[in-house]
Amino acid sequence: MKIQEADAKSLLLAQGLPVPSWIVARTPAEVAAAARTFFEAGAGKVVIKAQVLVGGRGKAGGVKLAGSPEEAAEVGSRILGMDIKGITVRKVLVGAAADIIKEYYLGAIVDRGSRRITLMASAEGGVEIEEVARQNPGAIHRVSADPLLGLLAFQARTLGLAIGLRDPLLAPFVTIAQGLFATMKANDADLVEVNPLAIVTESGPGDAEVQRLVCLDAKITLDDSGLSRHPSLEAFRDLDEEDPTDAQARKLGINFIHLDGTIGCMVNGAGLAMTTMDLVKRFGGEPANFLDIGGGARHETVAGSMELILADPKVKAILVNIFGGITRGDEVAAGLIEARAQQTRNVPMVVRIVGTNAAEAARLLKEARFETATSLDEAAEKAVALSKGSAR
């Protein structure tokens, strides 16, 4: 689960990381009020950042500066309601604009290759790390935390030295890197990214200027498998940005991803579900969704899944592909029959059920006059033909 910048920052703050304060605003008036708070505290400018879960908001014009509460309201009114990659901006983060001297990248990921948590750092901060990886891979430095002991101070220090940090910023960097690691562990995150981690100038005691390392942005992705033991993190789920089908899919306990095509797919198993989509495409069709009903699905799940597929008005044909193992073919067939009885829209369907209880499934489907297929390729080909037939 992806979470918004403001929520990610609150998780970093909870681990004691240096994150400048912010206020989330939902209307231009709230933006002005938030800006006023920062101006009164001595800010020269405020930054207003769109809160969306997609990347590239800066390029899209979703991050702007303002020099007065009035200007902040005006900027806020432009950003709020803006469309960024299909997502409508509903809230913005307002904070004091930092006096940035240099930007770094620091991220922690679950690293499949080393089977450890790996921290990555780069002196080329503020740009997308994927871009750095493509253009200048040598600029990214990595260190994998000990699988039993965690991220050790010397490891974090090595990383800090590699990106050119020296006294007096090296020790704070070690604390920040270990804090990222702690944030990951505390929340079962897959990814914790601070980009930029910036050296900023602040006024210190007696009007002396001091340099500090601060986390100016934050991106966190949570491991869905770990969510059940962090119930409070559920509050970070942004329902506004979800496809409306996502909540329904969660309730049914299925994996569903809405796509753009015309052929609805219902499959058991993630690999087979992807393969079914691939074959639909291979035979000249476009899948309308990825749908894995999971192992051992009951007829209610099948009926609910069918409802979800049919809710998409673009769906012109449905392909059901079940290789029964734990899942019983007859249970799926019963669910399909139940679903069709309730269905308000008549969409042609081709059903392929093999494996456990396939013979019983075949009998039920034949009695109910379903169009069936025996091989995977045949099923995909038939579904594509049906989708084109009904489009005529």
Binding site: R112, I129, S225, G226, A270, D278, D292
Partner: protein
């Protein structure tokens, strides 16, 4: 011979009294697998599967008293990491974890403990391992198999069944079918299994079934290019049409930052001389084209 499981497998089922555990233990026994013990803490001394399998409180007792050398785990995600560590501590050599939904961070210290003990973990979130005609550990349906000489390794469950069924239909039997699991952190990778197949005198051809996400297929391709010359190989990669940035059911199946795509994996495999199928149904034909004669 075969790899990982075979005639000398003596299986302990961790979680034998659960619904899944009991159901699949029956299927394993029916297939001829030697199931020597089950565990259920607090029910030691009782029996499971109609009085045929003794229950022990701990894996250590199952190893000591029933001679178990292999374990399969049907325990929910909250208890599965501990179950793996218990099996490691008991000296179990091969541990197959079927459980889905274990948080990735829980698995990091577990795979390290497995590695340090010199044990072998398959999974988690995997369908298990079958050596046709010898032993079936896990949930792969018995009916799809046929004994033979093709080694099959896959990240997926039902997609594996599809591929194995296609091979059996074409008369190509299997030496061992290994489901390595769809999670980001797994005990045994494609590369590990390819090494085992290379060293297995009974495996003469290999089918590999991968999917989007990570770079394990690319690593396997590099190994194949160097160490599996002359071994007929065919592969299938699921997820050519998967949209980037979305988790496709399996926790590990995600294209992130433009890497982990099917196209990259297919290109790496083809460059290594591995034939890549457009559909799992083509796998038998591709193996024959690669020179395999059953």
């Amino acid at each position: 011979m075969s790899i990982l499981v075979g005639s000398d497998t003596r299986l302990v089922v961790q979680g034998i009294t659960g619904r899944e555990g009991e159901f699949h233990t029956r299927a394993s026994i029916a297939y001829g697998t030697k199931v020597v013990a089950g565990t259920r803490p607090g029910k030691g001394g009782q029996t499971a599967i109609d009085g045929t399998v003794p229950i022990y409180d701990t894996v250590a007792e199952a190893a000591r008293q029933a001679g178990a050398n292999t374990s399969v785990i049907y325990i929910p995600a909250g208890g599965a990491p501990d179950a793996i560590l218990e099996a490691v501590d008991a000296g179990i050599a091969t541990i197959v974890c079927i459980t889905e939904g274990i948080p990735a961070l829980d698995m990091i210290p577990v795979v390290e403990a497995v590695r340090r003990a010199g044990a072998r973990l398959i999974g988690p979130n995997c369908p298990g391992v079958t050596s046709p005609g010898r032993a079936k550990v896990g949930i792969i349906p018995a009916s799809i198999h046929m004994p033979g000489r093709v080694g099959v390794v896959s990240r997926s469950g039902t997609l594996t069944y599809e591929a194995v069924q296609a091979m059996t239909d074409a008369g190509l039997g299997q030496s061992t079918c290994v489901g390595i699991g769809g999670d980001p952190i797994i005990g045994t990778t494609f590369l590990d299994v390819l090494k085992l197949f290379r060293d297995d005198p009974e495996t003469e051809a290999i089918v590999m079934i991968g999917e989007i996400g990570g770079s394990a297929e690319e690593e396997a391709a590099a190994f194949a290019a160097e160490h599996l010359k002359g071994v007929p190989m065919a592969a299938f990669i699921a997820g050519r049409t998967a949209p980037p940035g979305r988790r496709m059911g399996h926790a590990g199946a995600i294209i992130s930052g433009g890497s982990g795509t099917a196209a990259e994996k297919i290109a790496a495999l083809e460059a290594a001389g591995v034939r890549v199928a457009d559909s799992p149904t083509q796998l038998p034909r591709l193996l024959l084209e690669a020179g395999y004669r059953p």
